[in-house]
Every structure is written in structure tokens, then in C-alpha cells.
Amino acid sequence: MKFSYFPGCTLKNKAKDLDRYAIRSAEALGISLEEIENWQCCGGVFTTARDEIATKLSSVRILKAAKDKEQDLITVCSACHNVVKQTNNAMQNDAEFSSKVNRYMASEGGYDGSTTVYHYLEMLRDIVGFDALREKVVKPLSGKKIAAYYGCLLLRPGSVMKMDDPENPTIMEDMIRAMGAEPVIYGNRNECCGGYVVMESPELAKKKSGDVIRNAKAQGADMIITACPLCKYNLMKNGADVPVVYFTELLAEALGVKEDTNE
């Protein structure tokens, strides 16, 4: 099964593990991720102002690239997913916005909002299926107590992201169970790590990340997984004394493809 794949900038630099293990795990699950050609940065954050057009064009181009190949689009970084999905939603539901975008893009052909966007986790749940995933696990992570950290971007706004219950999500917990480990449920898993405000106020990021780590540990976690490079950075930077890893890395480990035989 083939999908268009948008990794985003961070996955080609500081978050290579998120990308590498995503691709390897997908292969092990019989899914081929075809990276979009000549992609640009998604923009990092989705600007909610309705008069911001140019800043959203790169995301529209990502969506259009997938549509041109008649493929569904897979993202893995939380931020990219949020931006691309919110842009797609605006293209579908905000007629004024989409007509302006299409005027900008007249020379390269328009885009109608019809691409289906999956986050990698949604692909695991809705296309592979967690039962099928369980059967492909060769190294079950038994005995591990893992806290899934969702942050904000995967879940909110819930009416657009539609990944899961934004207040009590289960998608990563179900994945953790499928890999043979025990999920740790903790309230701050959908609270903010401090995000980009770390640039402006490192103290705020420290406090917010600290709240997440403290809560996860108090509920018994000995590892935290995330889909977001910035979340990982903030947690690691601000006192995480349990490992914080990308969910794809853990997945690759469970599927027995973490060590690349070709490397």
C-alpha cells in the first residue's frame, strides 16, 4: 500500500529518528511511504487569522502534491500534521479562503481540499489496525510502563483534528498495548509542553514540561513517547529523568526493525 509522505524540516535535521523509524516500521507493516518531491516547510504553526493566505500556501502545495499522485497523505510530526490538517480544513470549509488561495496558485493548478490526511498513528489504527500490528510485533515491550504524551497539536482543535477524544485519547495507549507494554494514563498528556514560547520564555517551558513529567512519573511511567520534536526537546531540556523517545522508535523496536541491516 502506497501513501504520499510529508516528513517536514525537523525530521530531516534534529528529529531524524522520528523519520527513519517511521519509514522502516511502515515497510515492516507493508506500507510504502513516498516522500513528496521538493516539499517546503509547513510553516510550523497554523495561523488562525482568516486573512493569512500566503503563509498557508506551502501546506496547500503539500496537499496538492498528494492529490496529484492520487494518494492519501501521511504525516508524522505533530506540528506538520496540525498545520496541514487545519489548512485542509480551511480549504474545505472556508470558501473565501480557498478562492483566494486558488487565485495565488492559478499558474500551478488549483486545489479543492479533497486530499485525505492521516497522521501516522491514524494510519496504524485505521489502515493497519492495532490487532494486525500486535501480530507483527516480534519483540514485545513487556513490562514497560509507557506514558503517551500527546501535547496539544495532535488533538486540538478536536473538531478539526478528529483524531481521538481530545480530552481522553486512547490511540497511543492502544498502540502501546499492541506493542505489549502497559500504557500509563495521566491527565497532563494533553497539556502543553511550552511549545515555541521556549524561545520567548524558557521559564514557562520549564514549568509546563515539568508538570507533564511530574504527572507522568507520579502515575507510574518509566518512559514517555511523543510524536513531536518540540515536545521532546522541551521535556528533555526541562528535567525529564525518564527516557523521552519518538513513538516511531519504539514501534521500530517492537517490530524488530530498529537496527538497520543495511547500515
Binding site: T10, A49, A79, C152, G195, Y196, D211
Partner: protein
């Protein structure tokens, strides 16, 4: 800028109707950046509604909002305060010379691990 025009502009830009607010304070009750803010999410809603926008434009609170959307998700009235804060922030930084962050500021902020995503996001939020 004319007070009334400013209010209308922010409402149009954000797509938020501040009149729907019932003053319950849930947005501020859930805001993770509350303690860092001078004006809190519920005040953004009520001050935009009353046209008292200049103090907001000048407040550092604009740059403390994490755009985490907790207030948007949890508002019982569907008011979406974060979108309003974004519109006020854009109004502030779109003014000439009002960029919050410049490329010259970056080297001092860098460390070996900081992801590209942080820089891109911060530029998008703090700079026009």
C-alpha cells in the same frame, strides 16, 4: 487606529464572536500560561468586546499564549479565545517595526538540540 474599526477588524480576522461569551472564566481556568500573562484569555474576550484593545496590543501577554488551544477546546460557548489572541497579536506585529523577534536574536537562543520547528514557529508567531 479608530477604536471601533480596530474591534471590527479583530473580530473579522479571528472569526470569533465575543458576544457569545458568558463570562465563566473556563478559558482562564485552563490556560497553561496564565501566570505569565498580564491579561488573561477571558480578558482578551471581554476587552475586545468592549473595544478596549490598546492595552492588549501593548502587553507581553500576546507573546505568552502558547496557542495550545485548550481554551478553544474547553470553552462551553464555542468562543475560541486563542483565535482572538492571535488576531490581536497579528494586529500588533503587523505594525511597522513591531516584529517581536529578529534573525539577530536567534544565535543567543540556540543550543545543540533545539529543533528547527521551534525557530520556524516562533518566527511565524512573533514576526511579520
Amino acid at each position: 487606529m479608530n477604536k471601533k474599526y480596530l474591534r471590527e477588524d479583530i473580530i473579522r480576522m479571528s472569526g470569533v464572536n465575543p458576544k457569545k461569551c458568558m463570562r465563566c472564566g473556563k478559558c482562564s481556568g485552563t490556560c497553561p500560561a496564565y501566570d505569565e500573562m498580564e491579561y488573561h484569555p477571558h480578558q482578551f474576550v471581554s476587552m475586545v468586546e468592549s473595544g478596549d484593545i490598546e492595552p492588549l496590543l501593548e502587553s507581553d501577554s500576546l507573546y505568552r499564549c502558547l496557542t495550545c488551544f485548550a481554551c478553544v477546546e474547553r470553552c462551553p460557548r464555542g468562543v475560541e479565545p486563542a483565535k482572538l489572541i492571535e488576531a490581536v497579536r497579528l494586529t500588533a506585529i503587523r505594525r511597522q517595526g513591531a516584529n517581536r523577534l529578529t534573525p539577530n536574536d536567534i544565535p543567543a537562543m540556540l543550543d545543540d538540540e533545539i529543533p528547527q520547528q521551534a525557530l520556524v514557529s516562533a518566527f511565524r508567531k512573533y514576526t511579520k
